[in-house]
């Protein structure tokens, strides 16, 4: 407080009526209303002078002024806004060890649980600038790189529209509501949702997206292991529920990376065990995709005797390095054949996150593998097939 005026208190600490004491009047009301602004040094110099003069003669205002000045000292910048995402897993694990849940989240849904939580934490402090930052979605279609422009909010709308496939399969509400896409494919659903909105998506999409992801986790917890065998139709194909949840976790991470890149934030790959599950899903899908591509003349035809189901066949050894890594033997000639080390004709080595980026259509197949040896045609087919797993 200003020391320009003699203190209003006598030595017993009570207010001494000064010679120029004013009775509380309209002036008092106005000056009192200025106390907050004054305490924050947010009024004009003339006003500050008037307030300080008044404080010299008005005990109640002087008390309040002191109290508000002290309160200003309590205003602090919020610190450590970024909560370490790994803390969530640690905290939840500790809790569940101390009291095992009666209704656990199925193991095949934890990757989705973790990835949606990580993305939500990334969105936490986004302002409008970030929400409307341009994002270019990238994927492979017909072995060509495809792209589609949208915004951060548009990406969340996309995730919500496609997660909706799982919601619908589980009998939950469809986030598309009355909007009817031409086909129930991920891209048609997304385009339909984007088109139906009168305005481009805003941050308002975060709540519905997050509520749906929480609802999915909750629902699969209740329906338990039985529903793992249920299938989720994706329009052109279908996945068992547990693979669909893994696929959604994968897409969530891939698009979280797109978002992080667009706003220039760092973003880590998933935890090792989740990355491993994602690679495993892609590795399991590859033989079917290869066969499909062969039917469409996109992969080398097989010159071989027919392989009986379950028999070992020509295989490519996919070696994934780093956290979440491992080895997969991909049967090349038929999805029914068994991958076999003895019939290995090619070997590809790649980092786990890099393999996932390939499967997400974010890396050109020709540039993907760090190490490759053996049958070049087989390697090319598998890398192109991996990229063809990607979609919008």
């Amino acid at each position: 407080m200003s020391g320009r005026r003699p203190g209003p208190y006598d030595d017993r600490g009570t207010l001494a009526p000064g010679p120029d004491a004013l009775p509380p009047g309209p002036e008092h009301q106005v000056l009192k209303s200025l106390l907050g602004a004054w305490a924050l040094a947010a009024c004009a110099p003339a006003e500050a002078d008037a307030v300080e003069e008044h404080l010299g003669v008005c005990g109640s205002c002087a008390d309040e002024a002191l109290r508000l000045r002290e309160a200003v000292g309590l205003l602090q910048r919020p610190e450590s806004l970024d909560l370490n995402p790994a803390l969530r897993t640690r905290v939840l694990e500790t809790c569940l060890e101390r009291r095992p849940p009666r209704i656990p989240v199925p193991a095949w849904a934890t990757a989705y649980d973790t990835e949606t939580a990580r993305l939500d934490a990334l969105l936490q402090d986004f302002g409008d600038n970030e929400w409307h930052a341009p994002v270019r979605l990238r994927w492979y279609e017909g072995d060509e790189a495809s792209t589609r422009r949208t915004t951060v909010a548009g990406v969340i709308a996309h995730l919500m529209s496609v997660d909706g496939l799982v919601a619908v399969a589980l009998g939950l509400e469809d986030p598309l509501g009355d909007v009817r896409p031409e086909r129930a494919t991920p891209s048609d659903r997304t385009e339909a949702y984007w088109r139906a909105a009168r305005f481009p998506p805003t941050r308002a999409v975060r709540g519905p997206w997050r509520e749906q992801s929480h609802r999915l986790i909750r629902t699969v917890s209740f329906t338990g292991s039985d529903t793992g065998r249920m299938t989720v139709p994706y329009g052109d194909f279908a996945l068992p529920l547990h693979d669909a949840m893994l696929d959604r976790a994968f897409e969530c991470w891939v698009h979280a990376e797109d978002i992080a890149e667009a706003v220039d934030y760092p973003y880590d790959p998933p935890a090792g065990r989740h990355l491993h599950e994602m690679v495993d899903l892609a590795a399991r899908l590859l033989p079917v995709v290869l066969e499909n591509r062969r039917h469409h003349g996109l992969a080398a035809p097989v010159e071989r005797r027919l392989i009986a189901a379950g028999e070992p066949g020509r295989s490519l050894r996919l070696e994934i390095e780093g956290s979440g890594g491992g080895e997969w033997l991909i049967p090349l000639d038929s999805p029914a054949a068994k991958g076999s080390a003895e019939h290995e004709v090619a070997h590809v080595a790649l980092d786990g996150a890099e393999f996932c980026r390939l499967a997400a259509g974010h890396v050109p197949p020709r540039e993907a593998a760090a190490g490759q040896e053996g049958d070049r045609e087989a390697i090319r087919d598998v890398l192109l097939a991996a990229a063809s797993l990607s979609r919008m």
């Binding site: 602004a37 450590s80 905290v91 989240v105």
Partner: protein, 193 residues
């Protein structure tokens, strides 16, 4: 980010789901409140690792003893803030006492002052986060962005008088952080909610 208009029904449902042992509910609870809990713990302890530990302890406590929260007594948010404050202050007191016993600098009075200071700071944080958004926005502009009250009024699209009122009211709420009560007791923490 504070979610607006969360009905008390959410609190009640959450309590029931936790009591039922639903792991998905624990995840949702964490997603909604972890940054509040961690932020308050960090304000008291000033240490990332210690704040992580308190965060873990707070959620473990709720998960293991969901019945200790009674939705009729007030919002879950205030209750969690009070629990956080209590556990964080306990931890601060324990570590500081141990440091003192090892011959560290300072006196018992210093320790008490430090604990009191940390408690008030955490309570103030909670008050700021829980106060009505218009008041928080006014304080943010006037204090952190150094706008005077007329500029604040213009930024917020309100009258000068209203800007003065918000700044004063915001500070009055904040000042209640100094009002002693049992440290971290729900009335002190929840008063402004």
């Amino acid at each position: 980010m504070q979610k607006k208009d969360v009905p008390p029904r959410w609190d009640r449902k959450m309590q029931q789901r936790l009591a039922r042992g639903e792991a998905a509910a624990l995840g949702e609870l964490y997603d909604r409140f972890a940054s509040l809990v961690h932020g308050l713990a960090h304000r008291v302890l000033g240490d990332e690792h210690a704040a992580d530990t308190v965060t873990r302890d707070v959620f473990a406590h709720v998960w293991q003893h969901p019945d200790t929260y009674d939705p009729r007594q007030g919002p879950l948010r205030s209750w969690l803030a009070a629990l956080t404050n209590r556990l964080a202050v306990e931890r601060l007191r324990t570590t500081e006492t141990a440091a003192l016993a090892r011959g560290g600098p300072g006196t018992t009075e210093d320790l008490e002052r430090k604990v009191r200071h940390a408690t008030v700071a955490a309570r103030a944080d909670y008050i700021v986060q829980s106060m009505p958004a218009p008041l928080r926005a006014a304080l943010e502009l006037a204090y952190f962005q150094r706008r005077d009250y007329r500029q604040t009024a213009a930024d917020l699209g309100v009258t000068d008088e209203e800007a003065r009122r918000r700044l004063r009211l915001g500070l009055q709420l904040l000042a209640t952080a100094h009002d002693a009560g049992t440290p971290g007791a729900p009335p002190g923490m929840g008063g402004a909610a």
